[in-house]
């Protein structure tokens, strides 16, 4: 191919290089955020159990963000992978080996396999078809888990799981400190991986698929293959979240596959904003805090308020909230740039 190009002027190359490396760099806010999460056991020693739930939900939300926020794939049945991971980890601990990390790996592989197999069902089709197929798969899994109650414990759940100490050194304590630090570590590691993957050429191609599939394929992106890959990865992440759930609570029940898990998760991701990785995490924090607060007031009917939140959010709340977020981000950025030399 003989298309000789002039070398661009150095200032431009410089600018391009700077833009790209600026995007990769860790922002101050991020460092502070993760620092706070690590410091939480000291700041909120009595809230460890709740914080553990937040970390797990954040990981689950991160997994949905990968397909929804980055590849534009809608799903009403992401709980299928949460459940697959949870049951895999639970059954593994119960029947084979109670080591947490081994169980985690097994669960991740199981969920990834399920994700891989079902990814072909979300390839072609409109948003609506995808919503229904994913919903159908989650329901299918629920029925399966229900039917094979001899293995899964059915509605009563998998009883008697007793996890070994983490890394052979740290037993799971009643306050939940080991649990939280375990979940947080898994979340952080997987977050780092996701950050890297989404900033790669692969991640860029996903965004192209999300924005404009027609253009993406006209650019040479083999859409189906990319979707299968990201869907499998997302399933693996969700499976990890499920495993953490099973291991830290030492219990798995059909509840993990219920529809409201997938529906609530959608809300979590869109509150924080899909497509920038932190959206799911922030959404998870907000959701859990809200859930905790509302449950104190109306323990039985808190789904009502979640529903109301969804309705308001979609009817116009989203624009208002994200407008506020955007304005505060620019304000913070201005503050930071004024500080920096």
């Amino acid at each position: 191919m003989t298309m000789a190009l002039d070398t661009p002027r150095p200032a431009l190359t410089d600018l391009v290089g700077k833009t790209l490396s600026r995007r990769r760099r860790w922002k101050l806010g991020e460092v502070v955020f993760w620092g706070l999460t690590a410091a939480a056991p000291f700041m909120l020693p009595r809230g460890m159990l709740l914080l553990n739930e937040v970390a797990i939900l954040a990981l689950f939300a991160l997994s949905l963000d990968l397909i929804l926020g980055f590849a534009g794939i809608v799903s009403l049945g992401h709980a299928a992978f949460l459940g697959a991971g949870a049951y895999a980890a639970g059954l593994f601990a119960l029947h084979v080996n109670a080591d947490p990390l081994t169980g985690l790996v097994v669960a991740v592989l199981a969920a990834a396999l399920l994700g891989f197999l079902t990814s072909f069902l979300v390839l072609g089709g409109t948003d609506l078809t995808r919503l229904m197929v994913t919903l159908g798969i989650a329901l299918l899994l629920f029925e399966l888990a229900n039917s094979f109650s001899a293995i899964t414990g059915g509605a009563d759940g998998l009883q008697g799981i007793s996890m070994g100490p983490l890394l052979g050194l740290f037993p799971f304590d009643l306050q939940g400190r080991t649990a939280y630090l375990y979940s947080l570590s898994v979340l952080f590691v997987l977050f780092l991986a996701a950050r890297r993957m989404m900033a790669s050429p692969f991640g860029l191609s996903l965004r192209a698929i999300r924005d404009n599939p027609l253009r993406a394929s006209a650019t040479g992106v083999a859409i189906n293959g990319r979707i299968v890959l990201v869907y499998t990865i997302a399933a693996a992440y969700a499976g990890a979240a499920g495993a953490l759930m099973a291991q830290t609570t030492q219990f798995v029940s059909l509840d993990v596959l219920e529809f409201h898990r997938s529906a609530d998760l959608m809300l979590v991701v869109i509150i924080g904003g899909a497509g920038w990785l932190y959206g799911g995490i922030i959404g998870a924090i907000l959701f859990k805090v809200l859930q905790d607060a509302i449950s104190l007031a109306t323990p039985q009917y808190w789904q009502f308020w979640i529903g109301l939140l969804l309705v308001v959010f979609v009817l116009g709340g989203r624009e208002i909230l994200h407008g506020l977020l955007a304005r505060s981000r620019t304000a913070l950025a201005k503050l930071a740039s004024r500080r920096a030399p």
Partner: protein, 251 residues
């Protein structure tokens, strides 16, 4: 004799009862500056969509440099050297021109599945993206969100992206559409600047652009080719005049 750059053999496309492409056999030679013209609704974009794989033809074959690509997916055709622009800008709304150009370059260099690698691992791609941006007068907006670019720049980006794919066959679908008169000269310069070994099929309504650019013209009316030849032959062809050009043309 080497195969032509792009060729269709008896291409037919039916939508229910409507025949949008009627037995079209078109040949684009290597290094061609070939234009496809015709009134609105003649089926030009439908033809391009079949050439690029967006639509499946009902009958007939498509050959890219002698290779049968009739059933090949769009992304496969891009890898074989075909690239196109869209009549209505098809850009990536969440990206910047830099992102979009990098995407094209990454795909060209088979990096699309590299999920662990940095986006500009050794700076080469960044340099190339910068060069393309400069060439297409996008250097001043290279880092701006695409949604904030004026229409003319977006159009330039549309063409730059197709160009960045290093195509051997380039299909330009009405590149001047919506571009104000003053900027059309720039556009013509860009198109004329394309390397000689790239075969270009230009679909256009702007006759000025067509007659300045093309060395060969095909006329499509109601999905049927009614004339195919040199610009002067086409301008003189009474059938073409009658069907399309009208008496006002004095090319």
């Amino acid at each position: 004799m080497t195969a032509p750059a792009l060729q269709t053999v008896g291409l037919v496309k039916r939508f229910g009862g409507i025949v949008a492409t009627n037995d079209v056999s078109l040949t684009i030679e290597r290094g061609a500056r070939h234009a496809l013209i015709g009134p609105n609704g003649a089926g030009k974009t439908t033809l391009v969509n079949q050439l690029t794989g967006v639509l499946k033809p009902s009958e007939g074959r498509i050959l890219l440099e002698g290779r049968d690509i009739t059933t090949a997916k769009p992304e496969a055709r891009v890898r074989l050297g075909m690239s196109r622009t869209f009549q209505i800008n098809q850009l990536f709304q969440s990206m910047t021109p830099l992102d979009m150009l990098l995407l094209v370059l990454c795909e060209q260099n088979d990096l699309g599945l590299k999920l662990w690698q940095k986006l500009d691992k050794n700076g080469d791609l960044a340099r190339e993206a910068a060069a393309i941006a400069e060439r297409f007068r996008l250097d001043d907006v290279i880092g701006e969100p695409i949604t904030t670019l004026p229409y003319g720049k977006q159009r330039q980006l549309e063409i730059a992206a197709a160009f960045a794919a290093r195509p051997r066959v380039l299909l330009l679908d009405e590149p001047a559409a919506g571009v104000p008169e003053a900027e059309r000269r720039d556009l013509l310069a860009t198109v004329a600047d394309l390397p000689a070994d790239v075969s270009v099929l230009l679909i256009e309504h702007d006759m000025d652009l067509v007659f300045r650019f093309a060395t060969r013209i095909t006329v499509l009316v109601n999905g049927t080719v009614i004339a195919d030849g040199t610009p002067s032959a086409i301008a003189a062809d009474p059938a073409v005049r009658a069907a399309y050009l009208g008496e006002s043309l004095d090319a």
